[in-house]
């Protein structure tokens, strides 16, 4: 049984993990753009001030500086908010990190609408799409703090190519698998994890929407609808086999993401589904609109990212 445990933000776990890794691996350096307190790279900076580079509000410069460090043998972890990293510095990431295929870890926080009260200028719901369209880079969206920690430890030095990680501001429940308390420790790049079995549909989610998917599955179970729940934390390279298996075995797929319904997880899954084993899908996500100020929960409600929305999408498929 999957349970939702204590709440912790993924960015917090990132900061803790980075500071831990810094102790062991002197080649790790970190860069931030005047947001180290928010992204939690401050934890690394405080421990290793000489390996931390505060770049000021200059995201483009930060990405290319990281490239220069990487090409000189360092493993740079680069952080800021998603919108300013993946967005403002997209072309720097594309041309000077991905094109030369450098091992930069682009670990951005405050993605999605859960950034909340700051409003739409920072509520990036485009990052899955814009990052996964670039060759060479891996795209990872951890579902909770524990997975974040496990993945940072896993990816710090492999792959030797760029990695993008999307984290969020708010505290999210830790997902506990009671049969396998430690499933997070097995984080493997490109491998989806099935959190719950079910035969009538599969919910494929990432980030904090995995917990939403689990809640939806539980509600559906009460009504006798048994759905599989898959944590697709790696959006690229995506686990095609897990998707095909879900399509074959459950015949229906609902994706859930804190992202635009265009081009993100839903799009990536649809690409695989249509190529491997076409089945009907629903994509739960932000419906191609800008967000606004509000609490994360109020926004999830307004923008359709609640268990209720997922339940509705599953039922929609099951009855059609």
């Amino acid at each position: 049984m999957v349970k939702l445990g204590e709440r912790e933000s993924t960015r917090n776990a990132y900061g803790v993990a980075l500071a831990e890794l810094g102790e062991i691996h002197p080649e790790i350096v970190a860069l931030d753009a005047d947001l180290a307190g928010s992204t939690q790279t401050r934890r690394f900076a405080d421990k290793f001030p000489e390996r931390f580079f505060e770049m000021g509000i200059s995201e483009a410069d930060m990405m290319c500086t990281a490239a220069g460090l990487a090409v000189s043998g360092k493993i740079p972890f680069v952080s800021t908010f998603v919108i300013f990293g993946a967005g403002r510095a997209w072309e720097q990431i594309r041309n000077t990190i991905c094109r030369p295929n450098l091992p930069v870890r682009i670990c951005l926080s405050h993605g999605g609408i859960s950034i909340g009260e700051d409003g739409s200028s920072a509520q990036a719901c485009e990052d899955f799409a814009i990052m996964r369209s670039i060759p060479n880079i891996s795209v990872i969206v951890p579902c909770d703090a524990a997975e974040t920690k496990a993945l940072i430890h896993e990816i710090w030095d492999k792959p030797k190519s760029p990695v993008y990680i999307r984290m969020t501001r708010n505290k999210v429940p830790t997902i506990l698998d009671e049969n396998d308390q430690s499933f997070h420790q097995k984080f493997t790049l490109g491998k989806a994890v099935t959190l719950r079995e079910g035969s009538q549909a599969t919910i494929i989610a990432c980030g904090q929407m995995v917990a939403v998917g689990i809640q939806a599955a539980e509600e559906l179970a009460k009504e006798g609808i048994e759905v599989r729940v898959v944590n697709m934390s790696t959006i690229k390279p995506i686990d095609q086999d897990a998707i095909e298996k879900a399509a074959r075995e459950t015949g229906r797929i609902v994706t859930v993401e804190e992202h635009n319904i265009y081009g993100g997880l839903g799009g990536a899954v649809a690409e695989v589904v249509t190529e491997r084993y076409p089945v009907p899908m629903r994509r739960v996500g932000v419906r191609d609109v800008f967000g606004e100020s509000g609490s994360p929960d109020a926004l999830f409600e307004k923008y359709g990212l609640t268990p209720k929305n997922v339940v509705k999408a599953v039922k929609d498929l099951v009855k059609s």
Partner: protein, 307 residues
Amino acid sequence: MKVKEMKREMITAKVMKTAPESPVNIERVSPFSQTRDEKVLREIAREVRKDIIRMTTEAGSGHPGGSLSATDLLVALFWGEMRHKPNDRYWADRDRFILSKGHGCPALYSVYARTGYIAHEILPTLRKLGSPLQGHPCMIHLPTLEISTGSLGHGLSVGNGMALAGRLDGKDYRVYVVMGDGEQQEGSVWEAAMSGAHYKLDHVCGIIDYNHLETEGTVEEVMDIAPLAEKWCAFGWHTIEIDGHNFDEIFAALDEAKATKGKPTMIVAQTVKGKGVSFMENNVGFHGKSATREQMEQAIKELDESE
């Protein structure tokens, strides 16, 4: 005109039925009148600062520090400098105002309320779901805004664009853009600097709220921008350094800007982050955090008691 009276009349502006182009509609009949009287402006600024504290505490988040440092600049612009009509917000000849450091919007919202663009009653909705007062300025939610901001480094370019349009249309409106000092680290600011000078946009006047703090500490430590005036000079701008809390100096600079032909003007205004509230002044802790209720009471008291 007595400020206290003016203030009372100001807040009579009411939220009205929705305009076609906007989710908000505000009756813009207001008793707003302009002045450069320092005593009056200081009273207004005091009220704006109180609004800022109340709004951000009520919201439980927001950026009080940089709102307080910019307050006197905004008050000077809206009451004593800009040509504008709160009861005709789309007046084609109005001077344009852009808050490029969008996170300082509580100051702007208060100024909008106290000049009569919006109802004072909506200030407590800051950052709440459905409010026209978004965490960062959004013109879709609040059409009074000349442009949406929030991502640093965009505003001056937008201002240049408005200035180019004005020139094409044969209009003589001026464009005012307030930026942060941390914001100067964005390269796009220097692109805008170059093109503003290249196109000789002497109807553009930028103001830098040089409060020496950004999110993570002092600007000097995070990423030093000094010597700032020299940079703007080298980029071809007429540059004026002033105390950003001294109305005489602010107006002198604004007048000088208007008199300067053939190049845009940048006013580098030395300010104090958190200005007016003792425990917020020069305190980086209040860059992006609001006061607690108790702190709020204390702040309001201080502001009320200050001269």
